[in-house]
């Protein structure tokens, strides 16, 4: 795996323009504890919403709130990083206004 080039974009600013009903405290994606850094790194690269992040100290973070419900992490991370992948509950999650 190549090391990451510097990230210059703040995807959170873009996600803030989307419409969401966030199911606070009820994440539809659950991760394993202490995921392998290489496996986690795959999701850092593949998640279109940049929800998988590693900070300068190597600390892993994940936030389900901005999820685009594409399923990329289900394909790439099931069994290594992703412990459980479901769609958000009824009326929850992203609501596309353009699509």
């Amino acid at each position: 795996m190549s090391p990451l080039d510097p990230i210059t974009v703040n995807v959170d600013e873009y996600l803030a323009r989307n419409k969401y009903e966030v199911d606070e405290g009820n994440p539809h994606i659950e991760l394993v504890d202490d995921a392998d850094p290489v496996a986690f790194g795959r999701l850092v690269r593949a998640c279109p919403a940049a929800l998988y992040k590693v900070d300068a100290q190597g600390h892993q973070t994940f936030d389900h709130a901005g999820c685009l419900e594409c399923g990329t992490c289900r394909i790439v991370g099931t069994g290594t990083v992703v412990a459980r992948w479901q769609y958000p509950g009824p009326t929850m999650g992203v609501e596309y206004r353009y699509g």
Partner: protein, 428 residues
């Protein structure tokens, strides 16, 4: 006695068309959609080839919320510092049989769902189907919230990331080499500005695909589609290659937007939505079984998508498959046999249609794309260098092309060039 003759899971392109055909055949049909409205969870690149829709709803052009008719096709080889584009426009693209339109799914899908409802299909939205009801191997209905609803046949049209197809037909989770991640932004601009920048009339538009530096040399590409008053700009990258790249996909999109060949299109535009979607690109060989006892699959849930490199198609396949699924489910209901054997007319009819024929014809292209890294790095640079020989005039004495071309071609190796051309030609 089941609650409905048929239940359709998902209201994208395939689902409502299947429901419409069942309703037209006089069958009771329920569509269950997890979004609060049809389209709320749906994303596409966004161009619909309308031949399949015309076969279902001949008058669609007058009433469907379409964006622009695509009459200009561009395909570009993007190097980090240059871009070489083929630009094609043709009156044929304005004729009914070859028409295509850009669409925004949150606008288009509610209209298509409305057509199914008008025909008599019942709709419930904001409810997700959590699992299938089964009696042994046979699918007998769906479990949604606290409700269990039964039907003689269930049509799964719940998209590329279906959690139900494994239960229905034992479909495997797609491998990272069989799907790509897609990321897209809708960028608003005045209608006239878009027409001017893309050199189109106001109702007409362009589809523009990029290979090369759009993905910083990784397997995939970039796209720009013209909507009425917005551009759809995105990146599609095959997961098996993306996961070890030096750039995350969202940074690829940002860099693509800033590339000198793309940036002028977007000046003054405002990002109004950032979306993501998986793209099935495993082709024919990645498709799961299309029928099981009491169940059939249509559209992306069955991996019906074609990425030929120069065109990407999913929605026309889904609409045609939805129509055939609805018709064949109705025939099986009439015959009183919705077992896998009773539903065999569905895959048979798909084989006779363009759906499986095209998926079969273009089946080897994904493999070619996977292995041709030359296509994404070396060839865009070679195209740049060839055009530099033609167009960059700096006062140094001009050398004849027969002397300057061979060293450029030699960089990739004549054998590799010949092999890639042959493989490409054979796959297409």
């Amino acid at each position: 006695m089941a609650d409905f003759d048929a239940i359709v899971v998902g209201s994208g392109c395939a689902g409502p068309v299947a429901a419409l055909e069942l309703a037209r055949a006089g069958r009771s049909v329920l569509v269950v959609e997890r979004g609060t409205f049809a389209g709320a969870k749906n994303v596409s690149g966004g161009r619909l080839y309308t031949h399949a829709l015309r076969a279902v709803l001949p008058d669609f052009a007058a009433e469907a919320p379409l964006e622009r008719r695509v009459v200009r096709e561009r395909i570009s080889m993007l190097a980090p510092d240059a871009n070489v584009t083929v630009d094609y426009t043709d009156d044929l693209l304005r004729t009914e049989r070859a028409e295509s339109y850009t669409v925004l799914r949150a606008r288009f899908d509610p209209w298509l769902a409305g057509k199914a409802e008008e025909a008599g299909a019942e709709y419930v939205t904001g409810i997700a189907v959590e699992s299938l009801l089964k009696d042994g191997a046979r699918v007998t209905g769906v479990r949604a919230g606290d409700d269990e609803i039964t039907a003689d046949v269930v049509i799964l049209a719940d998209g590329v990331n279906s959690l139900l197809t494994p239960q229905a037909v034992g479909a495997a989770r797609p491998a990272p080499g069989q799907v790509a991640a897609g990321v897209k932004q809708v960028i608003e601009l005045p209608e006239r500005t878009i027409s001017d920048r893309l050199m189109c009339a106001d109702d007409e538009g362009a589809a523009w695909l990029f290979v090369g530096d759009a993905t910083h040399g990784h397997v995939g590409g970039g796209f720009v589609y013209t909507n009425r008053s917005s551009l759809s700009v995105g990146i599609v990258a095959t997961l098996s290659d993306l996961v070890t790249a030096e750039t995350p996909i969202y940074q690829m999109l940002e860099d693509f937007k800033r590339h000198p060949a793309v940036a002028p299109l977007l000046v003054g535009g405002e990002v109004v939505e950032h979306s993501g979607h998986l793209v099935a690109e495993g082709g024919f060989d990645a498709m799961p079984p299309l029928v099981g006892d009491g169940v059939l699959l249509a559209g992306e849930s069955a991996m019906m998508c074609i990425n030929a490199g120069y065109t990407v198609r999913g929605m026309d396949l889904a609409i045609a498959a939805g129509q055939i699924a609805g018709q064949q489910a109705a025939a099986a209901l009439a015959a009183g046999d919705t077992s896998a054997a009773g539903l065999a007319g569905y895959p048979e009819a798909l084989e006779r249609s363009f759906v499986l024929q095209d998926l079969r014809t273009l089946r080897t292209f994904p493999g070619f794309m996977e292995h041709a890294t030359r296509l994404f790095v070396d060839y865009p640079a070679m195209a740049r260098d060839l055009f530099r020989q033609l167009f960059a005039v700096d006062g140094t004495p001009v050398r004849p092309l027969r002397k300057t071309l061979p060293p450029i071609a030699r960089r990739a190796g004549y054998l590799n060039l010949a092999r890639d051309l042959w493989k490409g030609a054979k796959a297409l």
